[in-house]
């Protein structure tokens, strides 16, 4: 370790047990570059790779590269970065299913469109935008229809927002820890920049009757997915989204238009949106009674629990993204809240005995995924890593015991308890309960 840059300084920065270091460490040393050097040195001090030969000029530098493409694809060396695990094919390729975002292979706050999670209830309809319309009716002065072309002429609004399935992380209610990855346990959340027309503008054009307190939104898919939405949310920050990360919404995410209800359970963000009916009372559809309601204590069922509470998960390291050797690492992960901005993320390396604040990467946006990072000097001893998100309302992501004590373990949905990753002495990372 003799050539380790700033070893002494780094070691004095421990801010919580088992090697967590000050979140500003990498920044203070003159930006990411020095930090990265420090980190490399920290690792290299233990097992510096040996180059038998001197540097060679690789073939790809001595051969002209591939020709231009109309729509580019990721490098063929990134083949493992795919959605999954895909469900069993029970009905000859039709029916409900979901595909999860590979959180552990991504960095930053944005989910690439091809990796956005998907939950669909009877496949992805093949919609010709020229034959698609949005109908707004019910308790309005003027029932109206809008073509995709017409909506494309409206003034657009953009926001970066996560969408999370209410069933995400549901496996964490189980009595024993599932042997899973960040993707398989928590991959039903993604974050994109959505651009579209303010729903309030369209509702005002139709003229909302003062007796309308709810609306039911319906999709043009073969499940005709339908969900009731309170009028307050519809007039607040709801959007009819036409674009996803700059391009038209992907078919798996609702092409040619989807409802976006920032922070609300994913299922309500109705894809392939074709109809909005204003109502006095909620419609009590199958997916807001039989499903997406929470069976809590004493057989009671909590219905219309809409915002997704604050949650966080460490993606690096995490199962499959193992530690290689003792040394200096960056712990990194994602945090989000359906109630607003993430105010703080704390990380522990000793199973919750001591916590240190992580750095939040800019931008930190309301109801968007926020990236957090904190340096960690791993000694090589077993460790338990956890993160907990605190949002701008002061809400703190609960422990497993606290969440289950409050609502029992049969709620199935809205699980946001703290995840524990156990790091073994050999560097392997596993999902554990701690």
């Amino acid at each position: 370790m003799s050539n380790d840059l700033n070893t002494k300084d780094l070691d004095t920065e421990q801010v919580a047990g088992n090697g967590l270091l000050d979140r500003r460490l990498f920044l203070r040393q003159g930006g990411g570059l020095i930090g990265a050097v420090g980190m490399a040195a920290g690792l290299a001090g233990y097992s510096r790779p040996v180059h038998a030969e001197t540097l060679v000029v690789p073939d790809w530098t001595k051969t002209p590269g591939a020709w231009l493409q109309g729509y580019t694809q990721p490098s063929k060396f990134e083949g493992k970065v795919v959605r999954g695990p895909l469900p069993n094919n029970l009905y000859n390729g039709i029916g409900p299913g979901n595909a999860r975002t590979p959180l552990q292979y991504l960095d930053g706050m944005i989910t690439p469109n091809g990796l956005h999670y998907e939950r669909s209830h009877n496949g992805i309809p093949d919609i010709d935008p020229a034959g698609h319309q949005l109908l707004i009716h019910g308790l309005v002065k003027r029932p109206l229809t809008f073509t995709v072309e017409a909506l494309s002429r409206y003034p657009m609004t953009s926001r970066i927002s996560f969408v999370e399935c209410a069933g995400n992380s549901g496996g964490m209610y189980a009595a024993t820890p599932a042997d899973g990855t960040a993707q398989s346990l928590h991959g039903l959340v993604s974050c994109a920049e959505w651009t579209g027309v303010s729903l309030a503008m369209l509702l005002e054009e139709a003229g909302v009757d003062p007796t309308a307190k709810w609306l039911v939104a319906e999709g043009a898919d073969a499940a005709a997915m339908s969900r009731s939405v309170p009028i307050g949310k519809a007039l607040d920050d709801a959007m009819v989204a036409l674009y996803q990360n700059g391009e038209r919404v992907r078919p798996s995410n609702g092409y040619p238009m989807r409802l976006l209800l920032p922070g609300y359970q994913g299922n309500m963000n109705v894809k392939w949106l074709r109809r909005i009916k204003l109502l006095r009372e909620p419609a009590m559809t199958k997916d807001e009674t039989s499903k997406y309601s929470l069976l809590v204590k004493d057989g009671k069922v909590a219905q219309f629990n809409f915002p997704m509470d604050a949650k966080s998960v460490i993606t690096k390291p995490s199962p499959g993204i193992n530690m290689t050797a003792p040394g200096l690492y960056e712990i990194s992960g994602i945090a989000w809240s359906g109630h607003g901005k993430v105010a703080k993320v704390e990380v522990t390396a000793d199973g919750g005995k001591s916590w240190a604040p992580a750095a939040l990467s800019d931008p930190v946006l309301s109801k968007a995924i926020t990236r957090f990072r904190i340096p960690w000097r791993w000694s090589g001893a077993p460790a338990i890593l956890q993160s907990r998100a605190i949002d701008e309302t002061g809400y703190v992501q609960p422990t497993r015991e606290a969440q289950i004590a409050a609502r029992g373990s049969r709620a199935a949905y809205h699980c946001n308890l703290i995840t524990s990753w156990g790091v073994a002495a050999n560097g392997e990372v596993k999902h554990v309960y701690a």
């Binding site: 029970l90 009905y91 039709i94 029916g95 209830h121 009877n122 109908l135 707004i136 009716h137 003027r142 029932p143 109206l144 229809t145 809008f146 073509t147 017409a150 002429r153 409206y154 003034p155 609004t157 926001r159 303010s198 309030a200 503008m201 369209l202 005002e204 054009e205 139709a206 039911v216 319906e218 073969a222 499940a223 005709a224 339908s226 309170p230 307050g232 007039l235 607040d236 920050d237 109809r275 009916k277 109502l279 009372e281 419609a283 009590m284 559809t285 199958k286 009674t289 039989s290 929470l294 069976l295 009671k300 069922v301 219905q303 219309f304 629990n305 809409f306 915002p307 509470d309 409050a406």
Partner: protein, 179 residues
């Protein structure tokens, strides 16, 4: 031309909805349609039965429909697999046991059954059954759960009157949030 609108929209995004109506002038490209014309797309049935169409169905006819169109996925007499169980599970919602949520044990409204079957079932050919057959198969599923008798007839009047056994265990959280 849109500067003013964009300002109004960003105000809306901040959560100030008051005044949006007058402030946000829209391009006005919505095409007027009558409620009568809209009915061709309107699948929504309220828990009070609003929206239920004409037609009627018996438990007996429902059994025929079920055997032909539903049994393959929901099992003989609704016992399930590979798809959801539609029958049974009463008494499993209490305590710590694994809950078996079915139409009979869990669903709060009988109208939801008509609404859902009409819009989404059978899985491979949704929206192909007659309204009377949807009433009939709804009646059959309710009868299998012991909620209505074998001679019951379901239509726009009788279906909303069916009281579902688990109805009173549902409570609405909004605008609150559960712990």
């Amino acid at each position: 031309m849109f500067t003013r609108n964009i300002a109004a929209i960003s105000v809306a995004a901040l959560g100030f909805t008051v005044g949006l109506a007058s402030a946000a002038e829209s391009p006005g490209l919505g095409q007027p349609i009558t409620e009568k014309e809209a009915a061709a797309w309107d699948l929504s049935i309220g828990p009070d039965g609003v929206g239920l169409p004409a037609g009627r169905g018996t438990v007996k006819r429902g059994e025929e429909v079920y055997l032909e169109k539903c049994q393959g996925c929901h099992g003989e007499t609704g016992v399930g697999t590979p798809s959801d169980k539609l029958v049974g599970g009463q008494g499993t919602l209490m305590g710590d046991q694994a809950p078996v949520k079915t139409v009979g044990s869990f669903w709060p409204y009988a109208t939801t059954l008509f609404d859902y079957i009409r819009r989404a079932m059978p899985l491979a050919e949704p929206q192909t059954m007659s309204d009377s057959d949807v009433y009939a198969v709804s009646a059959y599923v309710l009868n299998l759960n012991g909620i209505i008798g074998p001679r019951a007839v379901m239509d726009a009047k009788s279906l909303p009157k069916v009281k579902m056994p688990n109805r009173d265990n549902f409570y609405i959280v909004y605008p609150g949030q559960i712990k």
